[in-house]
Amino acid sequence: MAVTAVEGEAPQFKQGLQAGVSIAIGYAPIALTYGLLAKTTGLTMAETVMMSLVVFAGASQYIALNLLALGTSTFEIILTTFIVNIRHFLMSTALNEKSDEADGLFKKSAYAFGITDETFSVAATKPGVVTAGYMIGLNLMAYASWVVCSGLGHLFGASLPETLQESMSVALYAMFIGLLVPSMKGAKKVIYLAVVAACFNSIFTITEALSSGWSIVLSTLISSFLIEFIEYVKLGKKGGGSNE
């Protein structure tokens, strides 16, 4: 692979690795806590690390631990995992539009494994096309942090200072804000999209109308369609000579 694409892919891979550093920082406290919780739930070190290696999805892993502790059946846990992660379908669809046409399905299938809320956000807000080299670098950095910190959490999560753990809980949110704000500066549309989705998600979450996984899917879809539709109608009217 590296032999055929040395020219373009080495810097892309490196760019991906660099872009993954903020995710790696953000994952550290979450994975440490996961490792600690897994230990308290009674999972062995091997099981804890294997789950991070095979699943690589924070929310589902937390939920699985919770359900395991409640004695839920294996099938229900797998089904819940599926439902919680349906939002990745949306993200992969959006990313597919940005993907490099030169990359075959094999490479895309490889990096599809690493699509999370965070890797998606970083890749999707990056200008230009998203190449396989970039995605693999990005995913690898995030994945390494996730897996290693899960193991460390199982080993000695409880001994981390609590104030640091608390402060680090903001990390991923700060990253999302850091990705969103530069795009907001350029375009009002981006502000509308984010604000409308945030409002719907707040309503769905606070009224407990939907689980958080579905709530994110639905608010994203409503906002994306609504804003696109309003723009479409406005542009149509402008073409007809009206000013509004």
């Binding site: 999972l43 797998i78 669809t93 959006a94 608390e166 949110y173 969103l180 994110i216 608010s219 994203t220």
Partner: protein
Amino acid sequence: MNSEVFWMIIGMGIATYIPRLLPFVLFKGKEMPSFLQGVLKNIPFATLGALIFPGILFIQDDISFGLLGAAAAFLIAYLGANVIVVVLGAIAVLSVYSVFI
């Protein structure tokens, strides 16, 4: 390793991978209508809005913790800082804050 946990993890892995993979297989090389392309381009920004709110308010029991973190991150990002600086800056602000409360 407990074999039930083993198979649970394998099942969870498959259940997580399918939604991640399927769009690349289904929409391979297909040209979408322009309206739908517009909607897909909107998704990252809408997703970010939904991922940030209201989740950031509830990172600790004390809502002001999340609000302060959000404000700090927003300000640092608005000043044009790199994402890593935004992340470290927000952590630093909250570390100082938690020392004083």
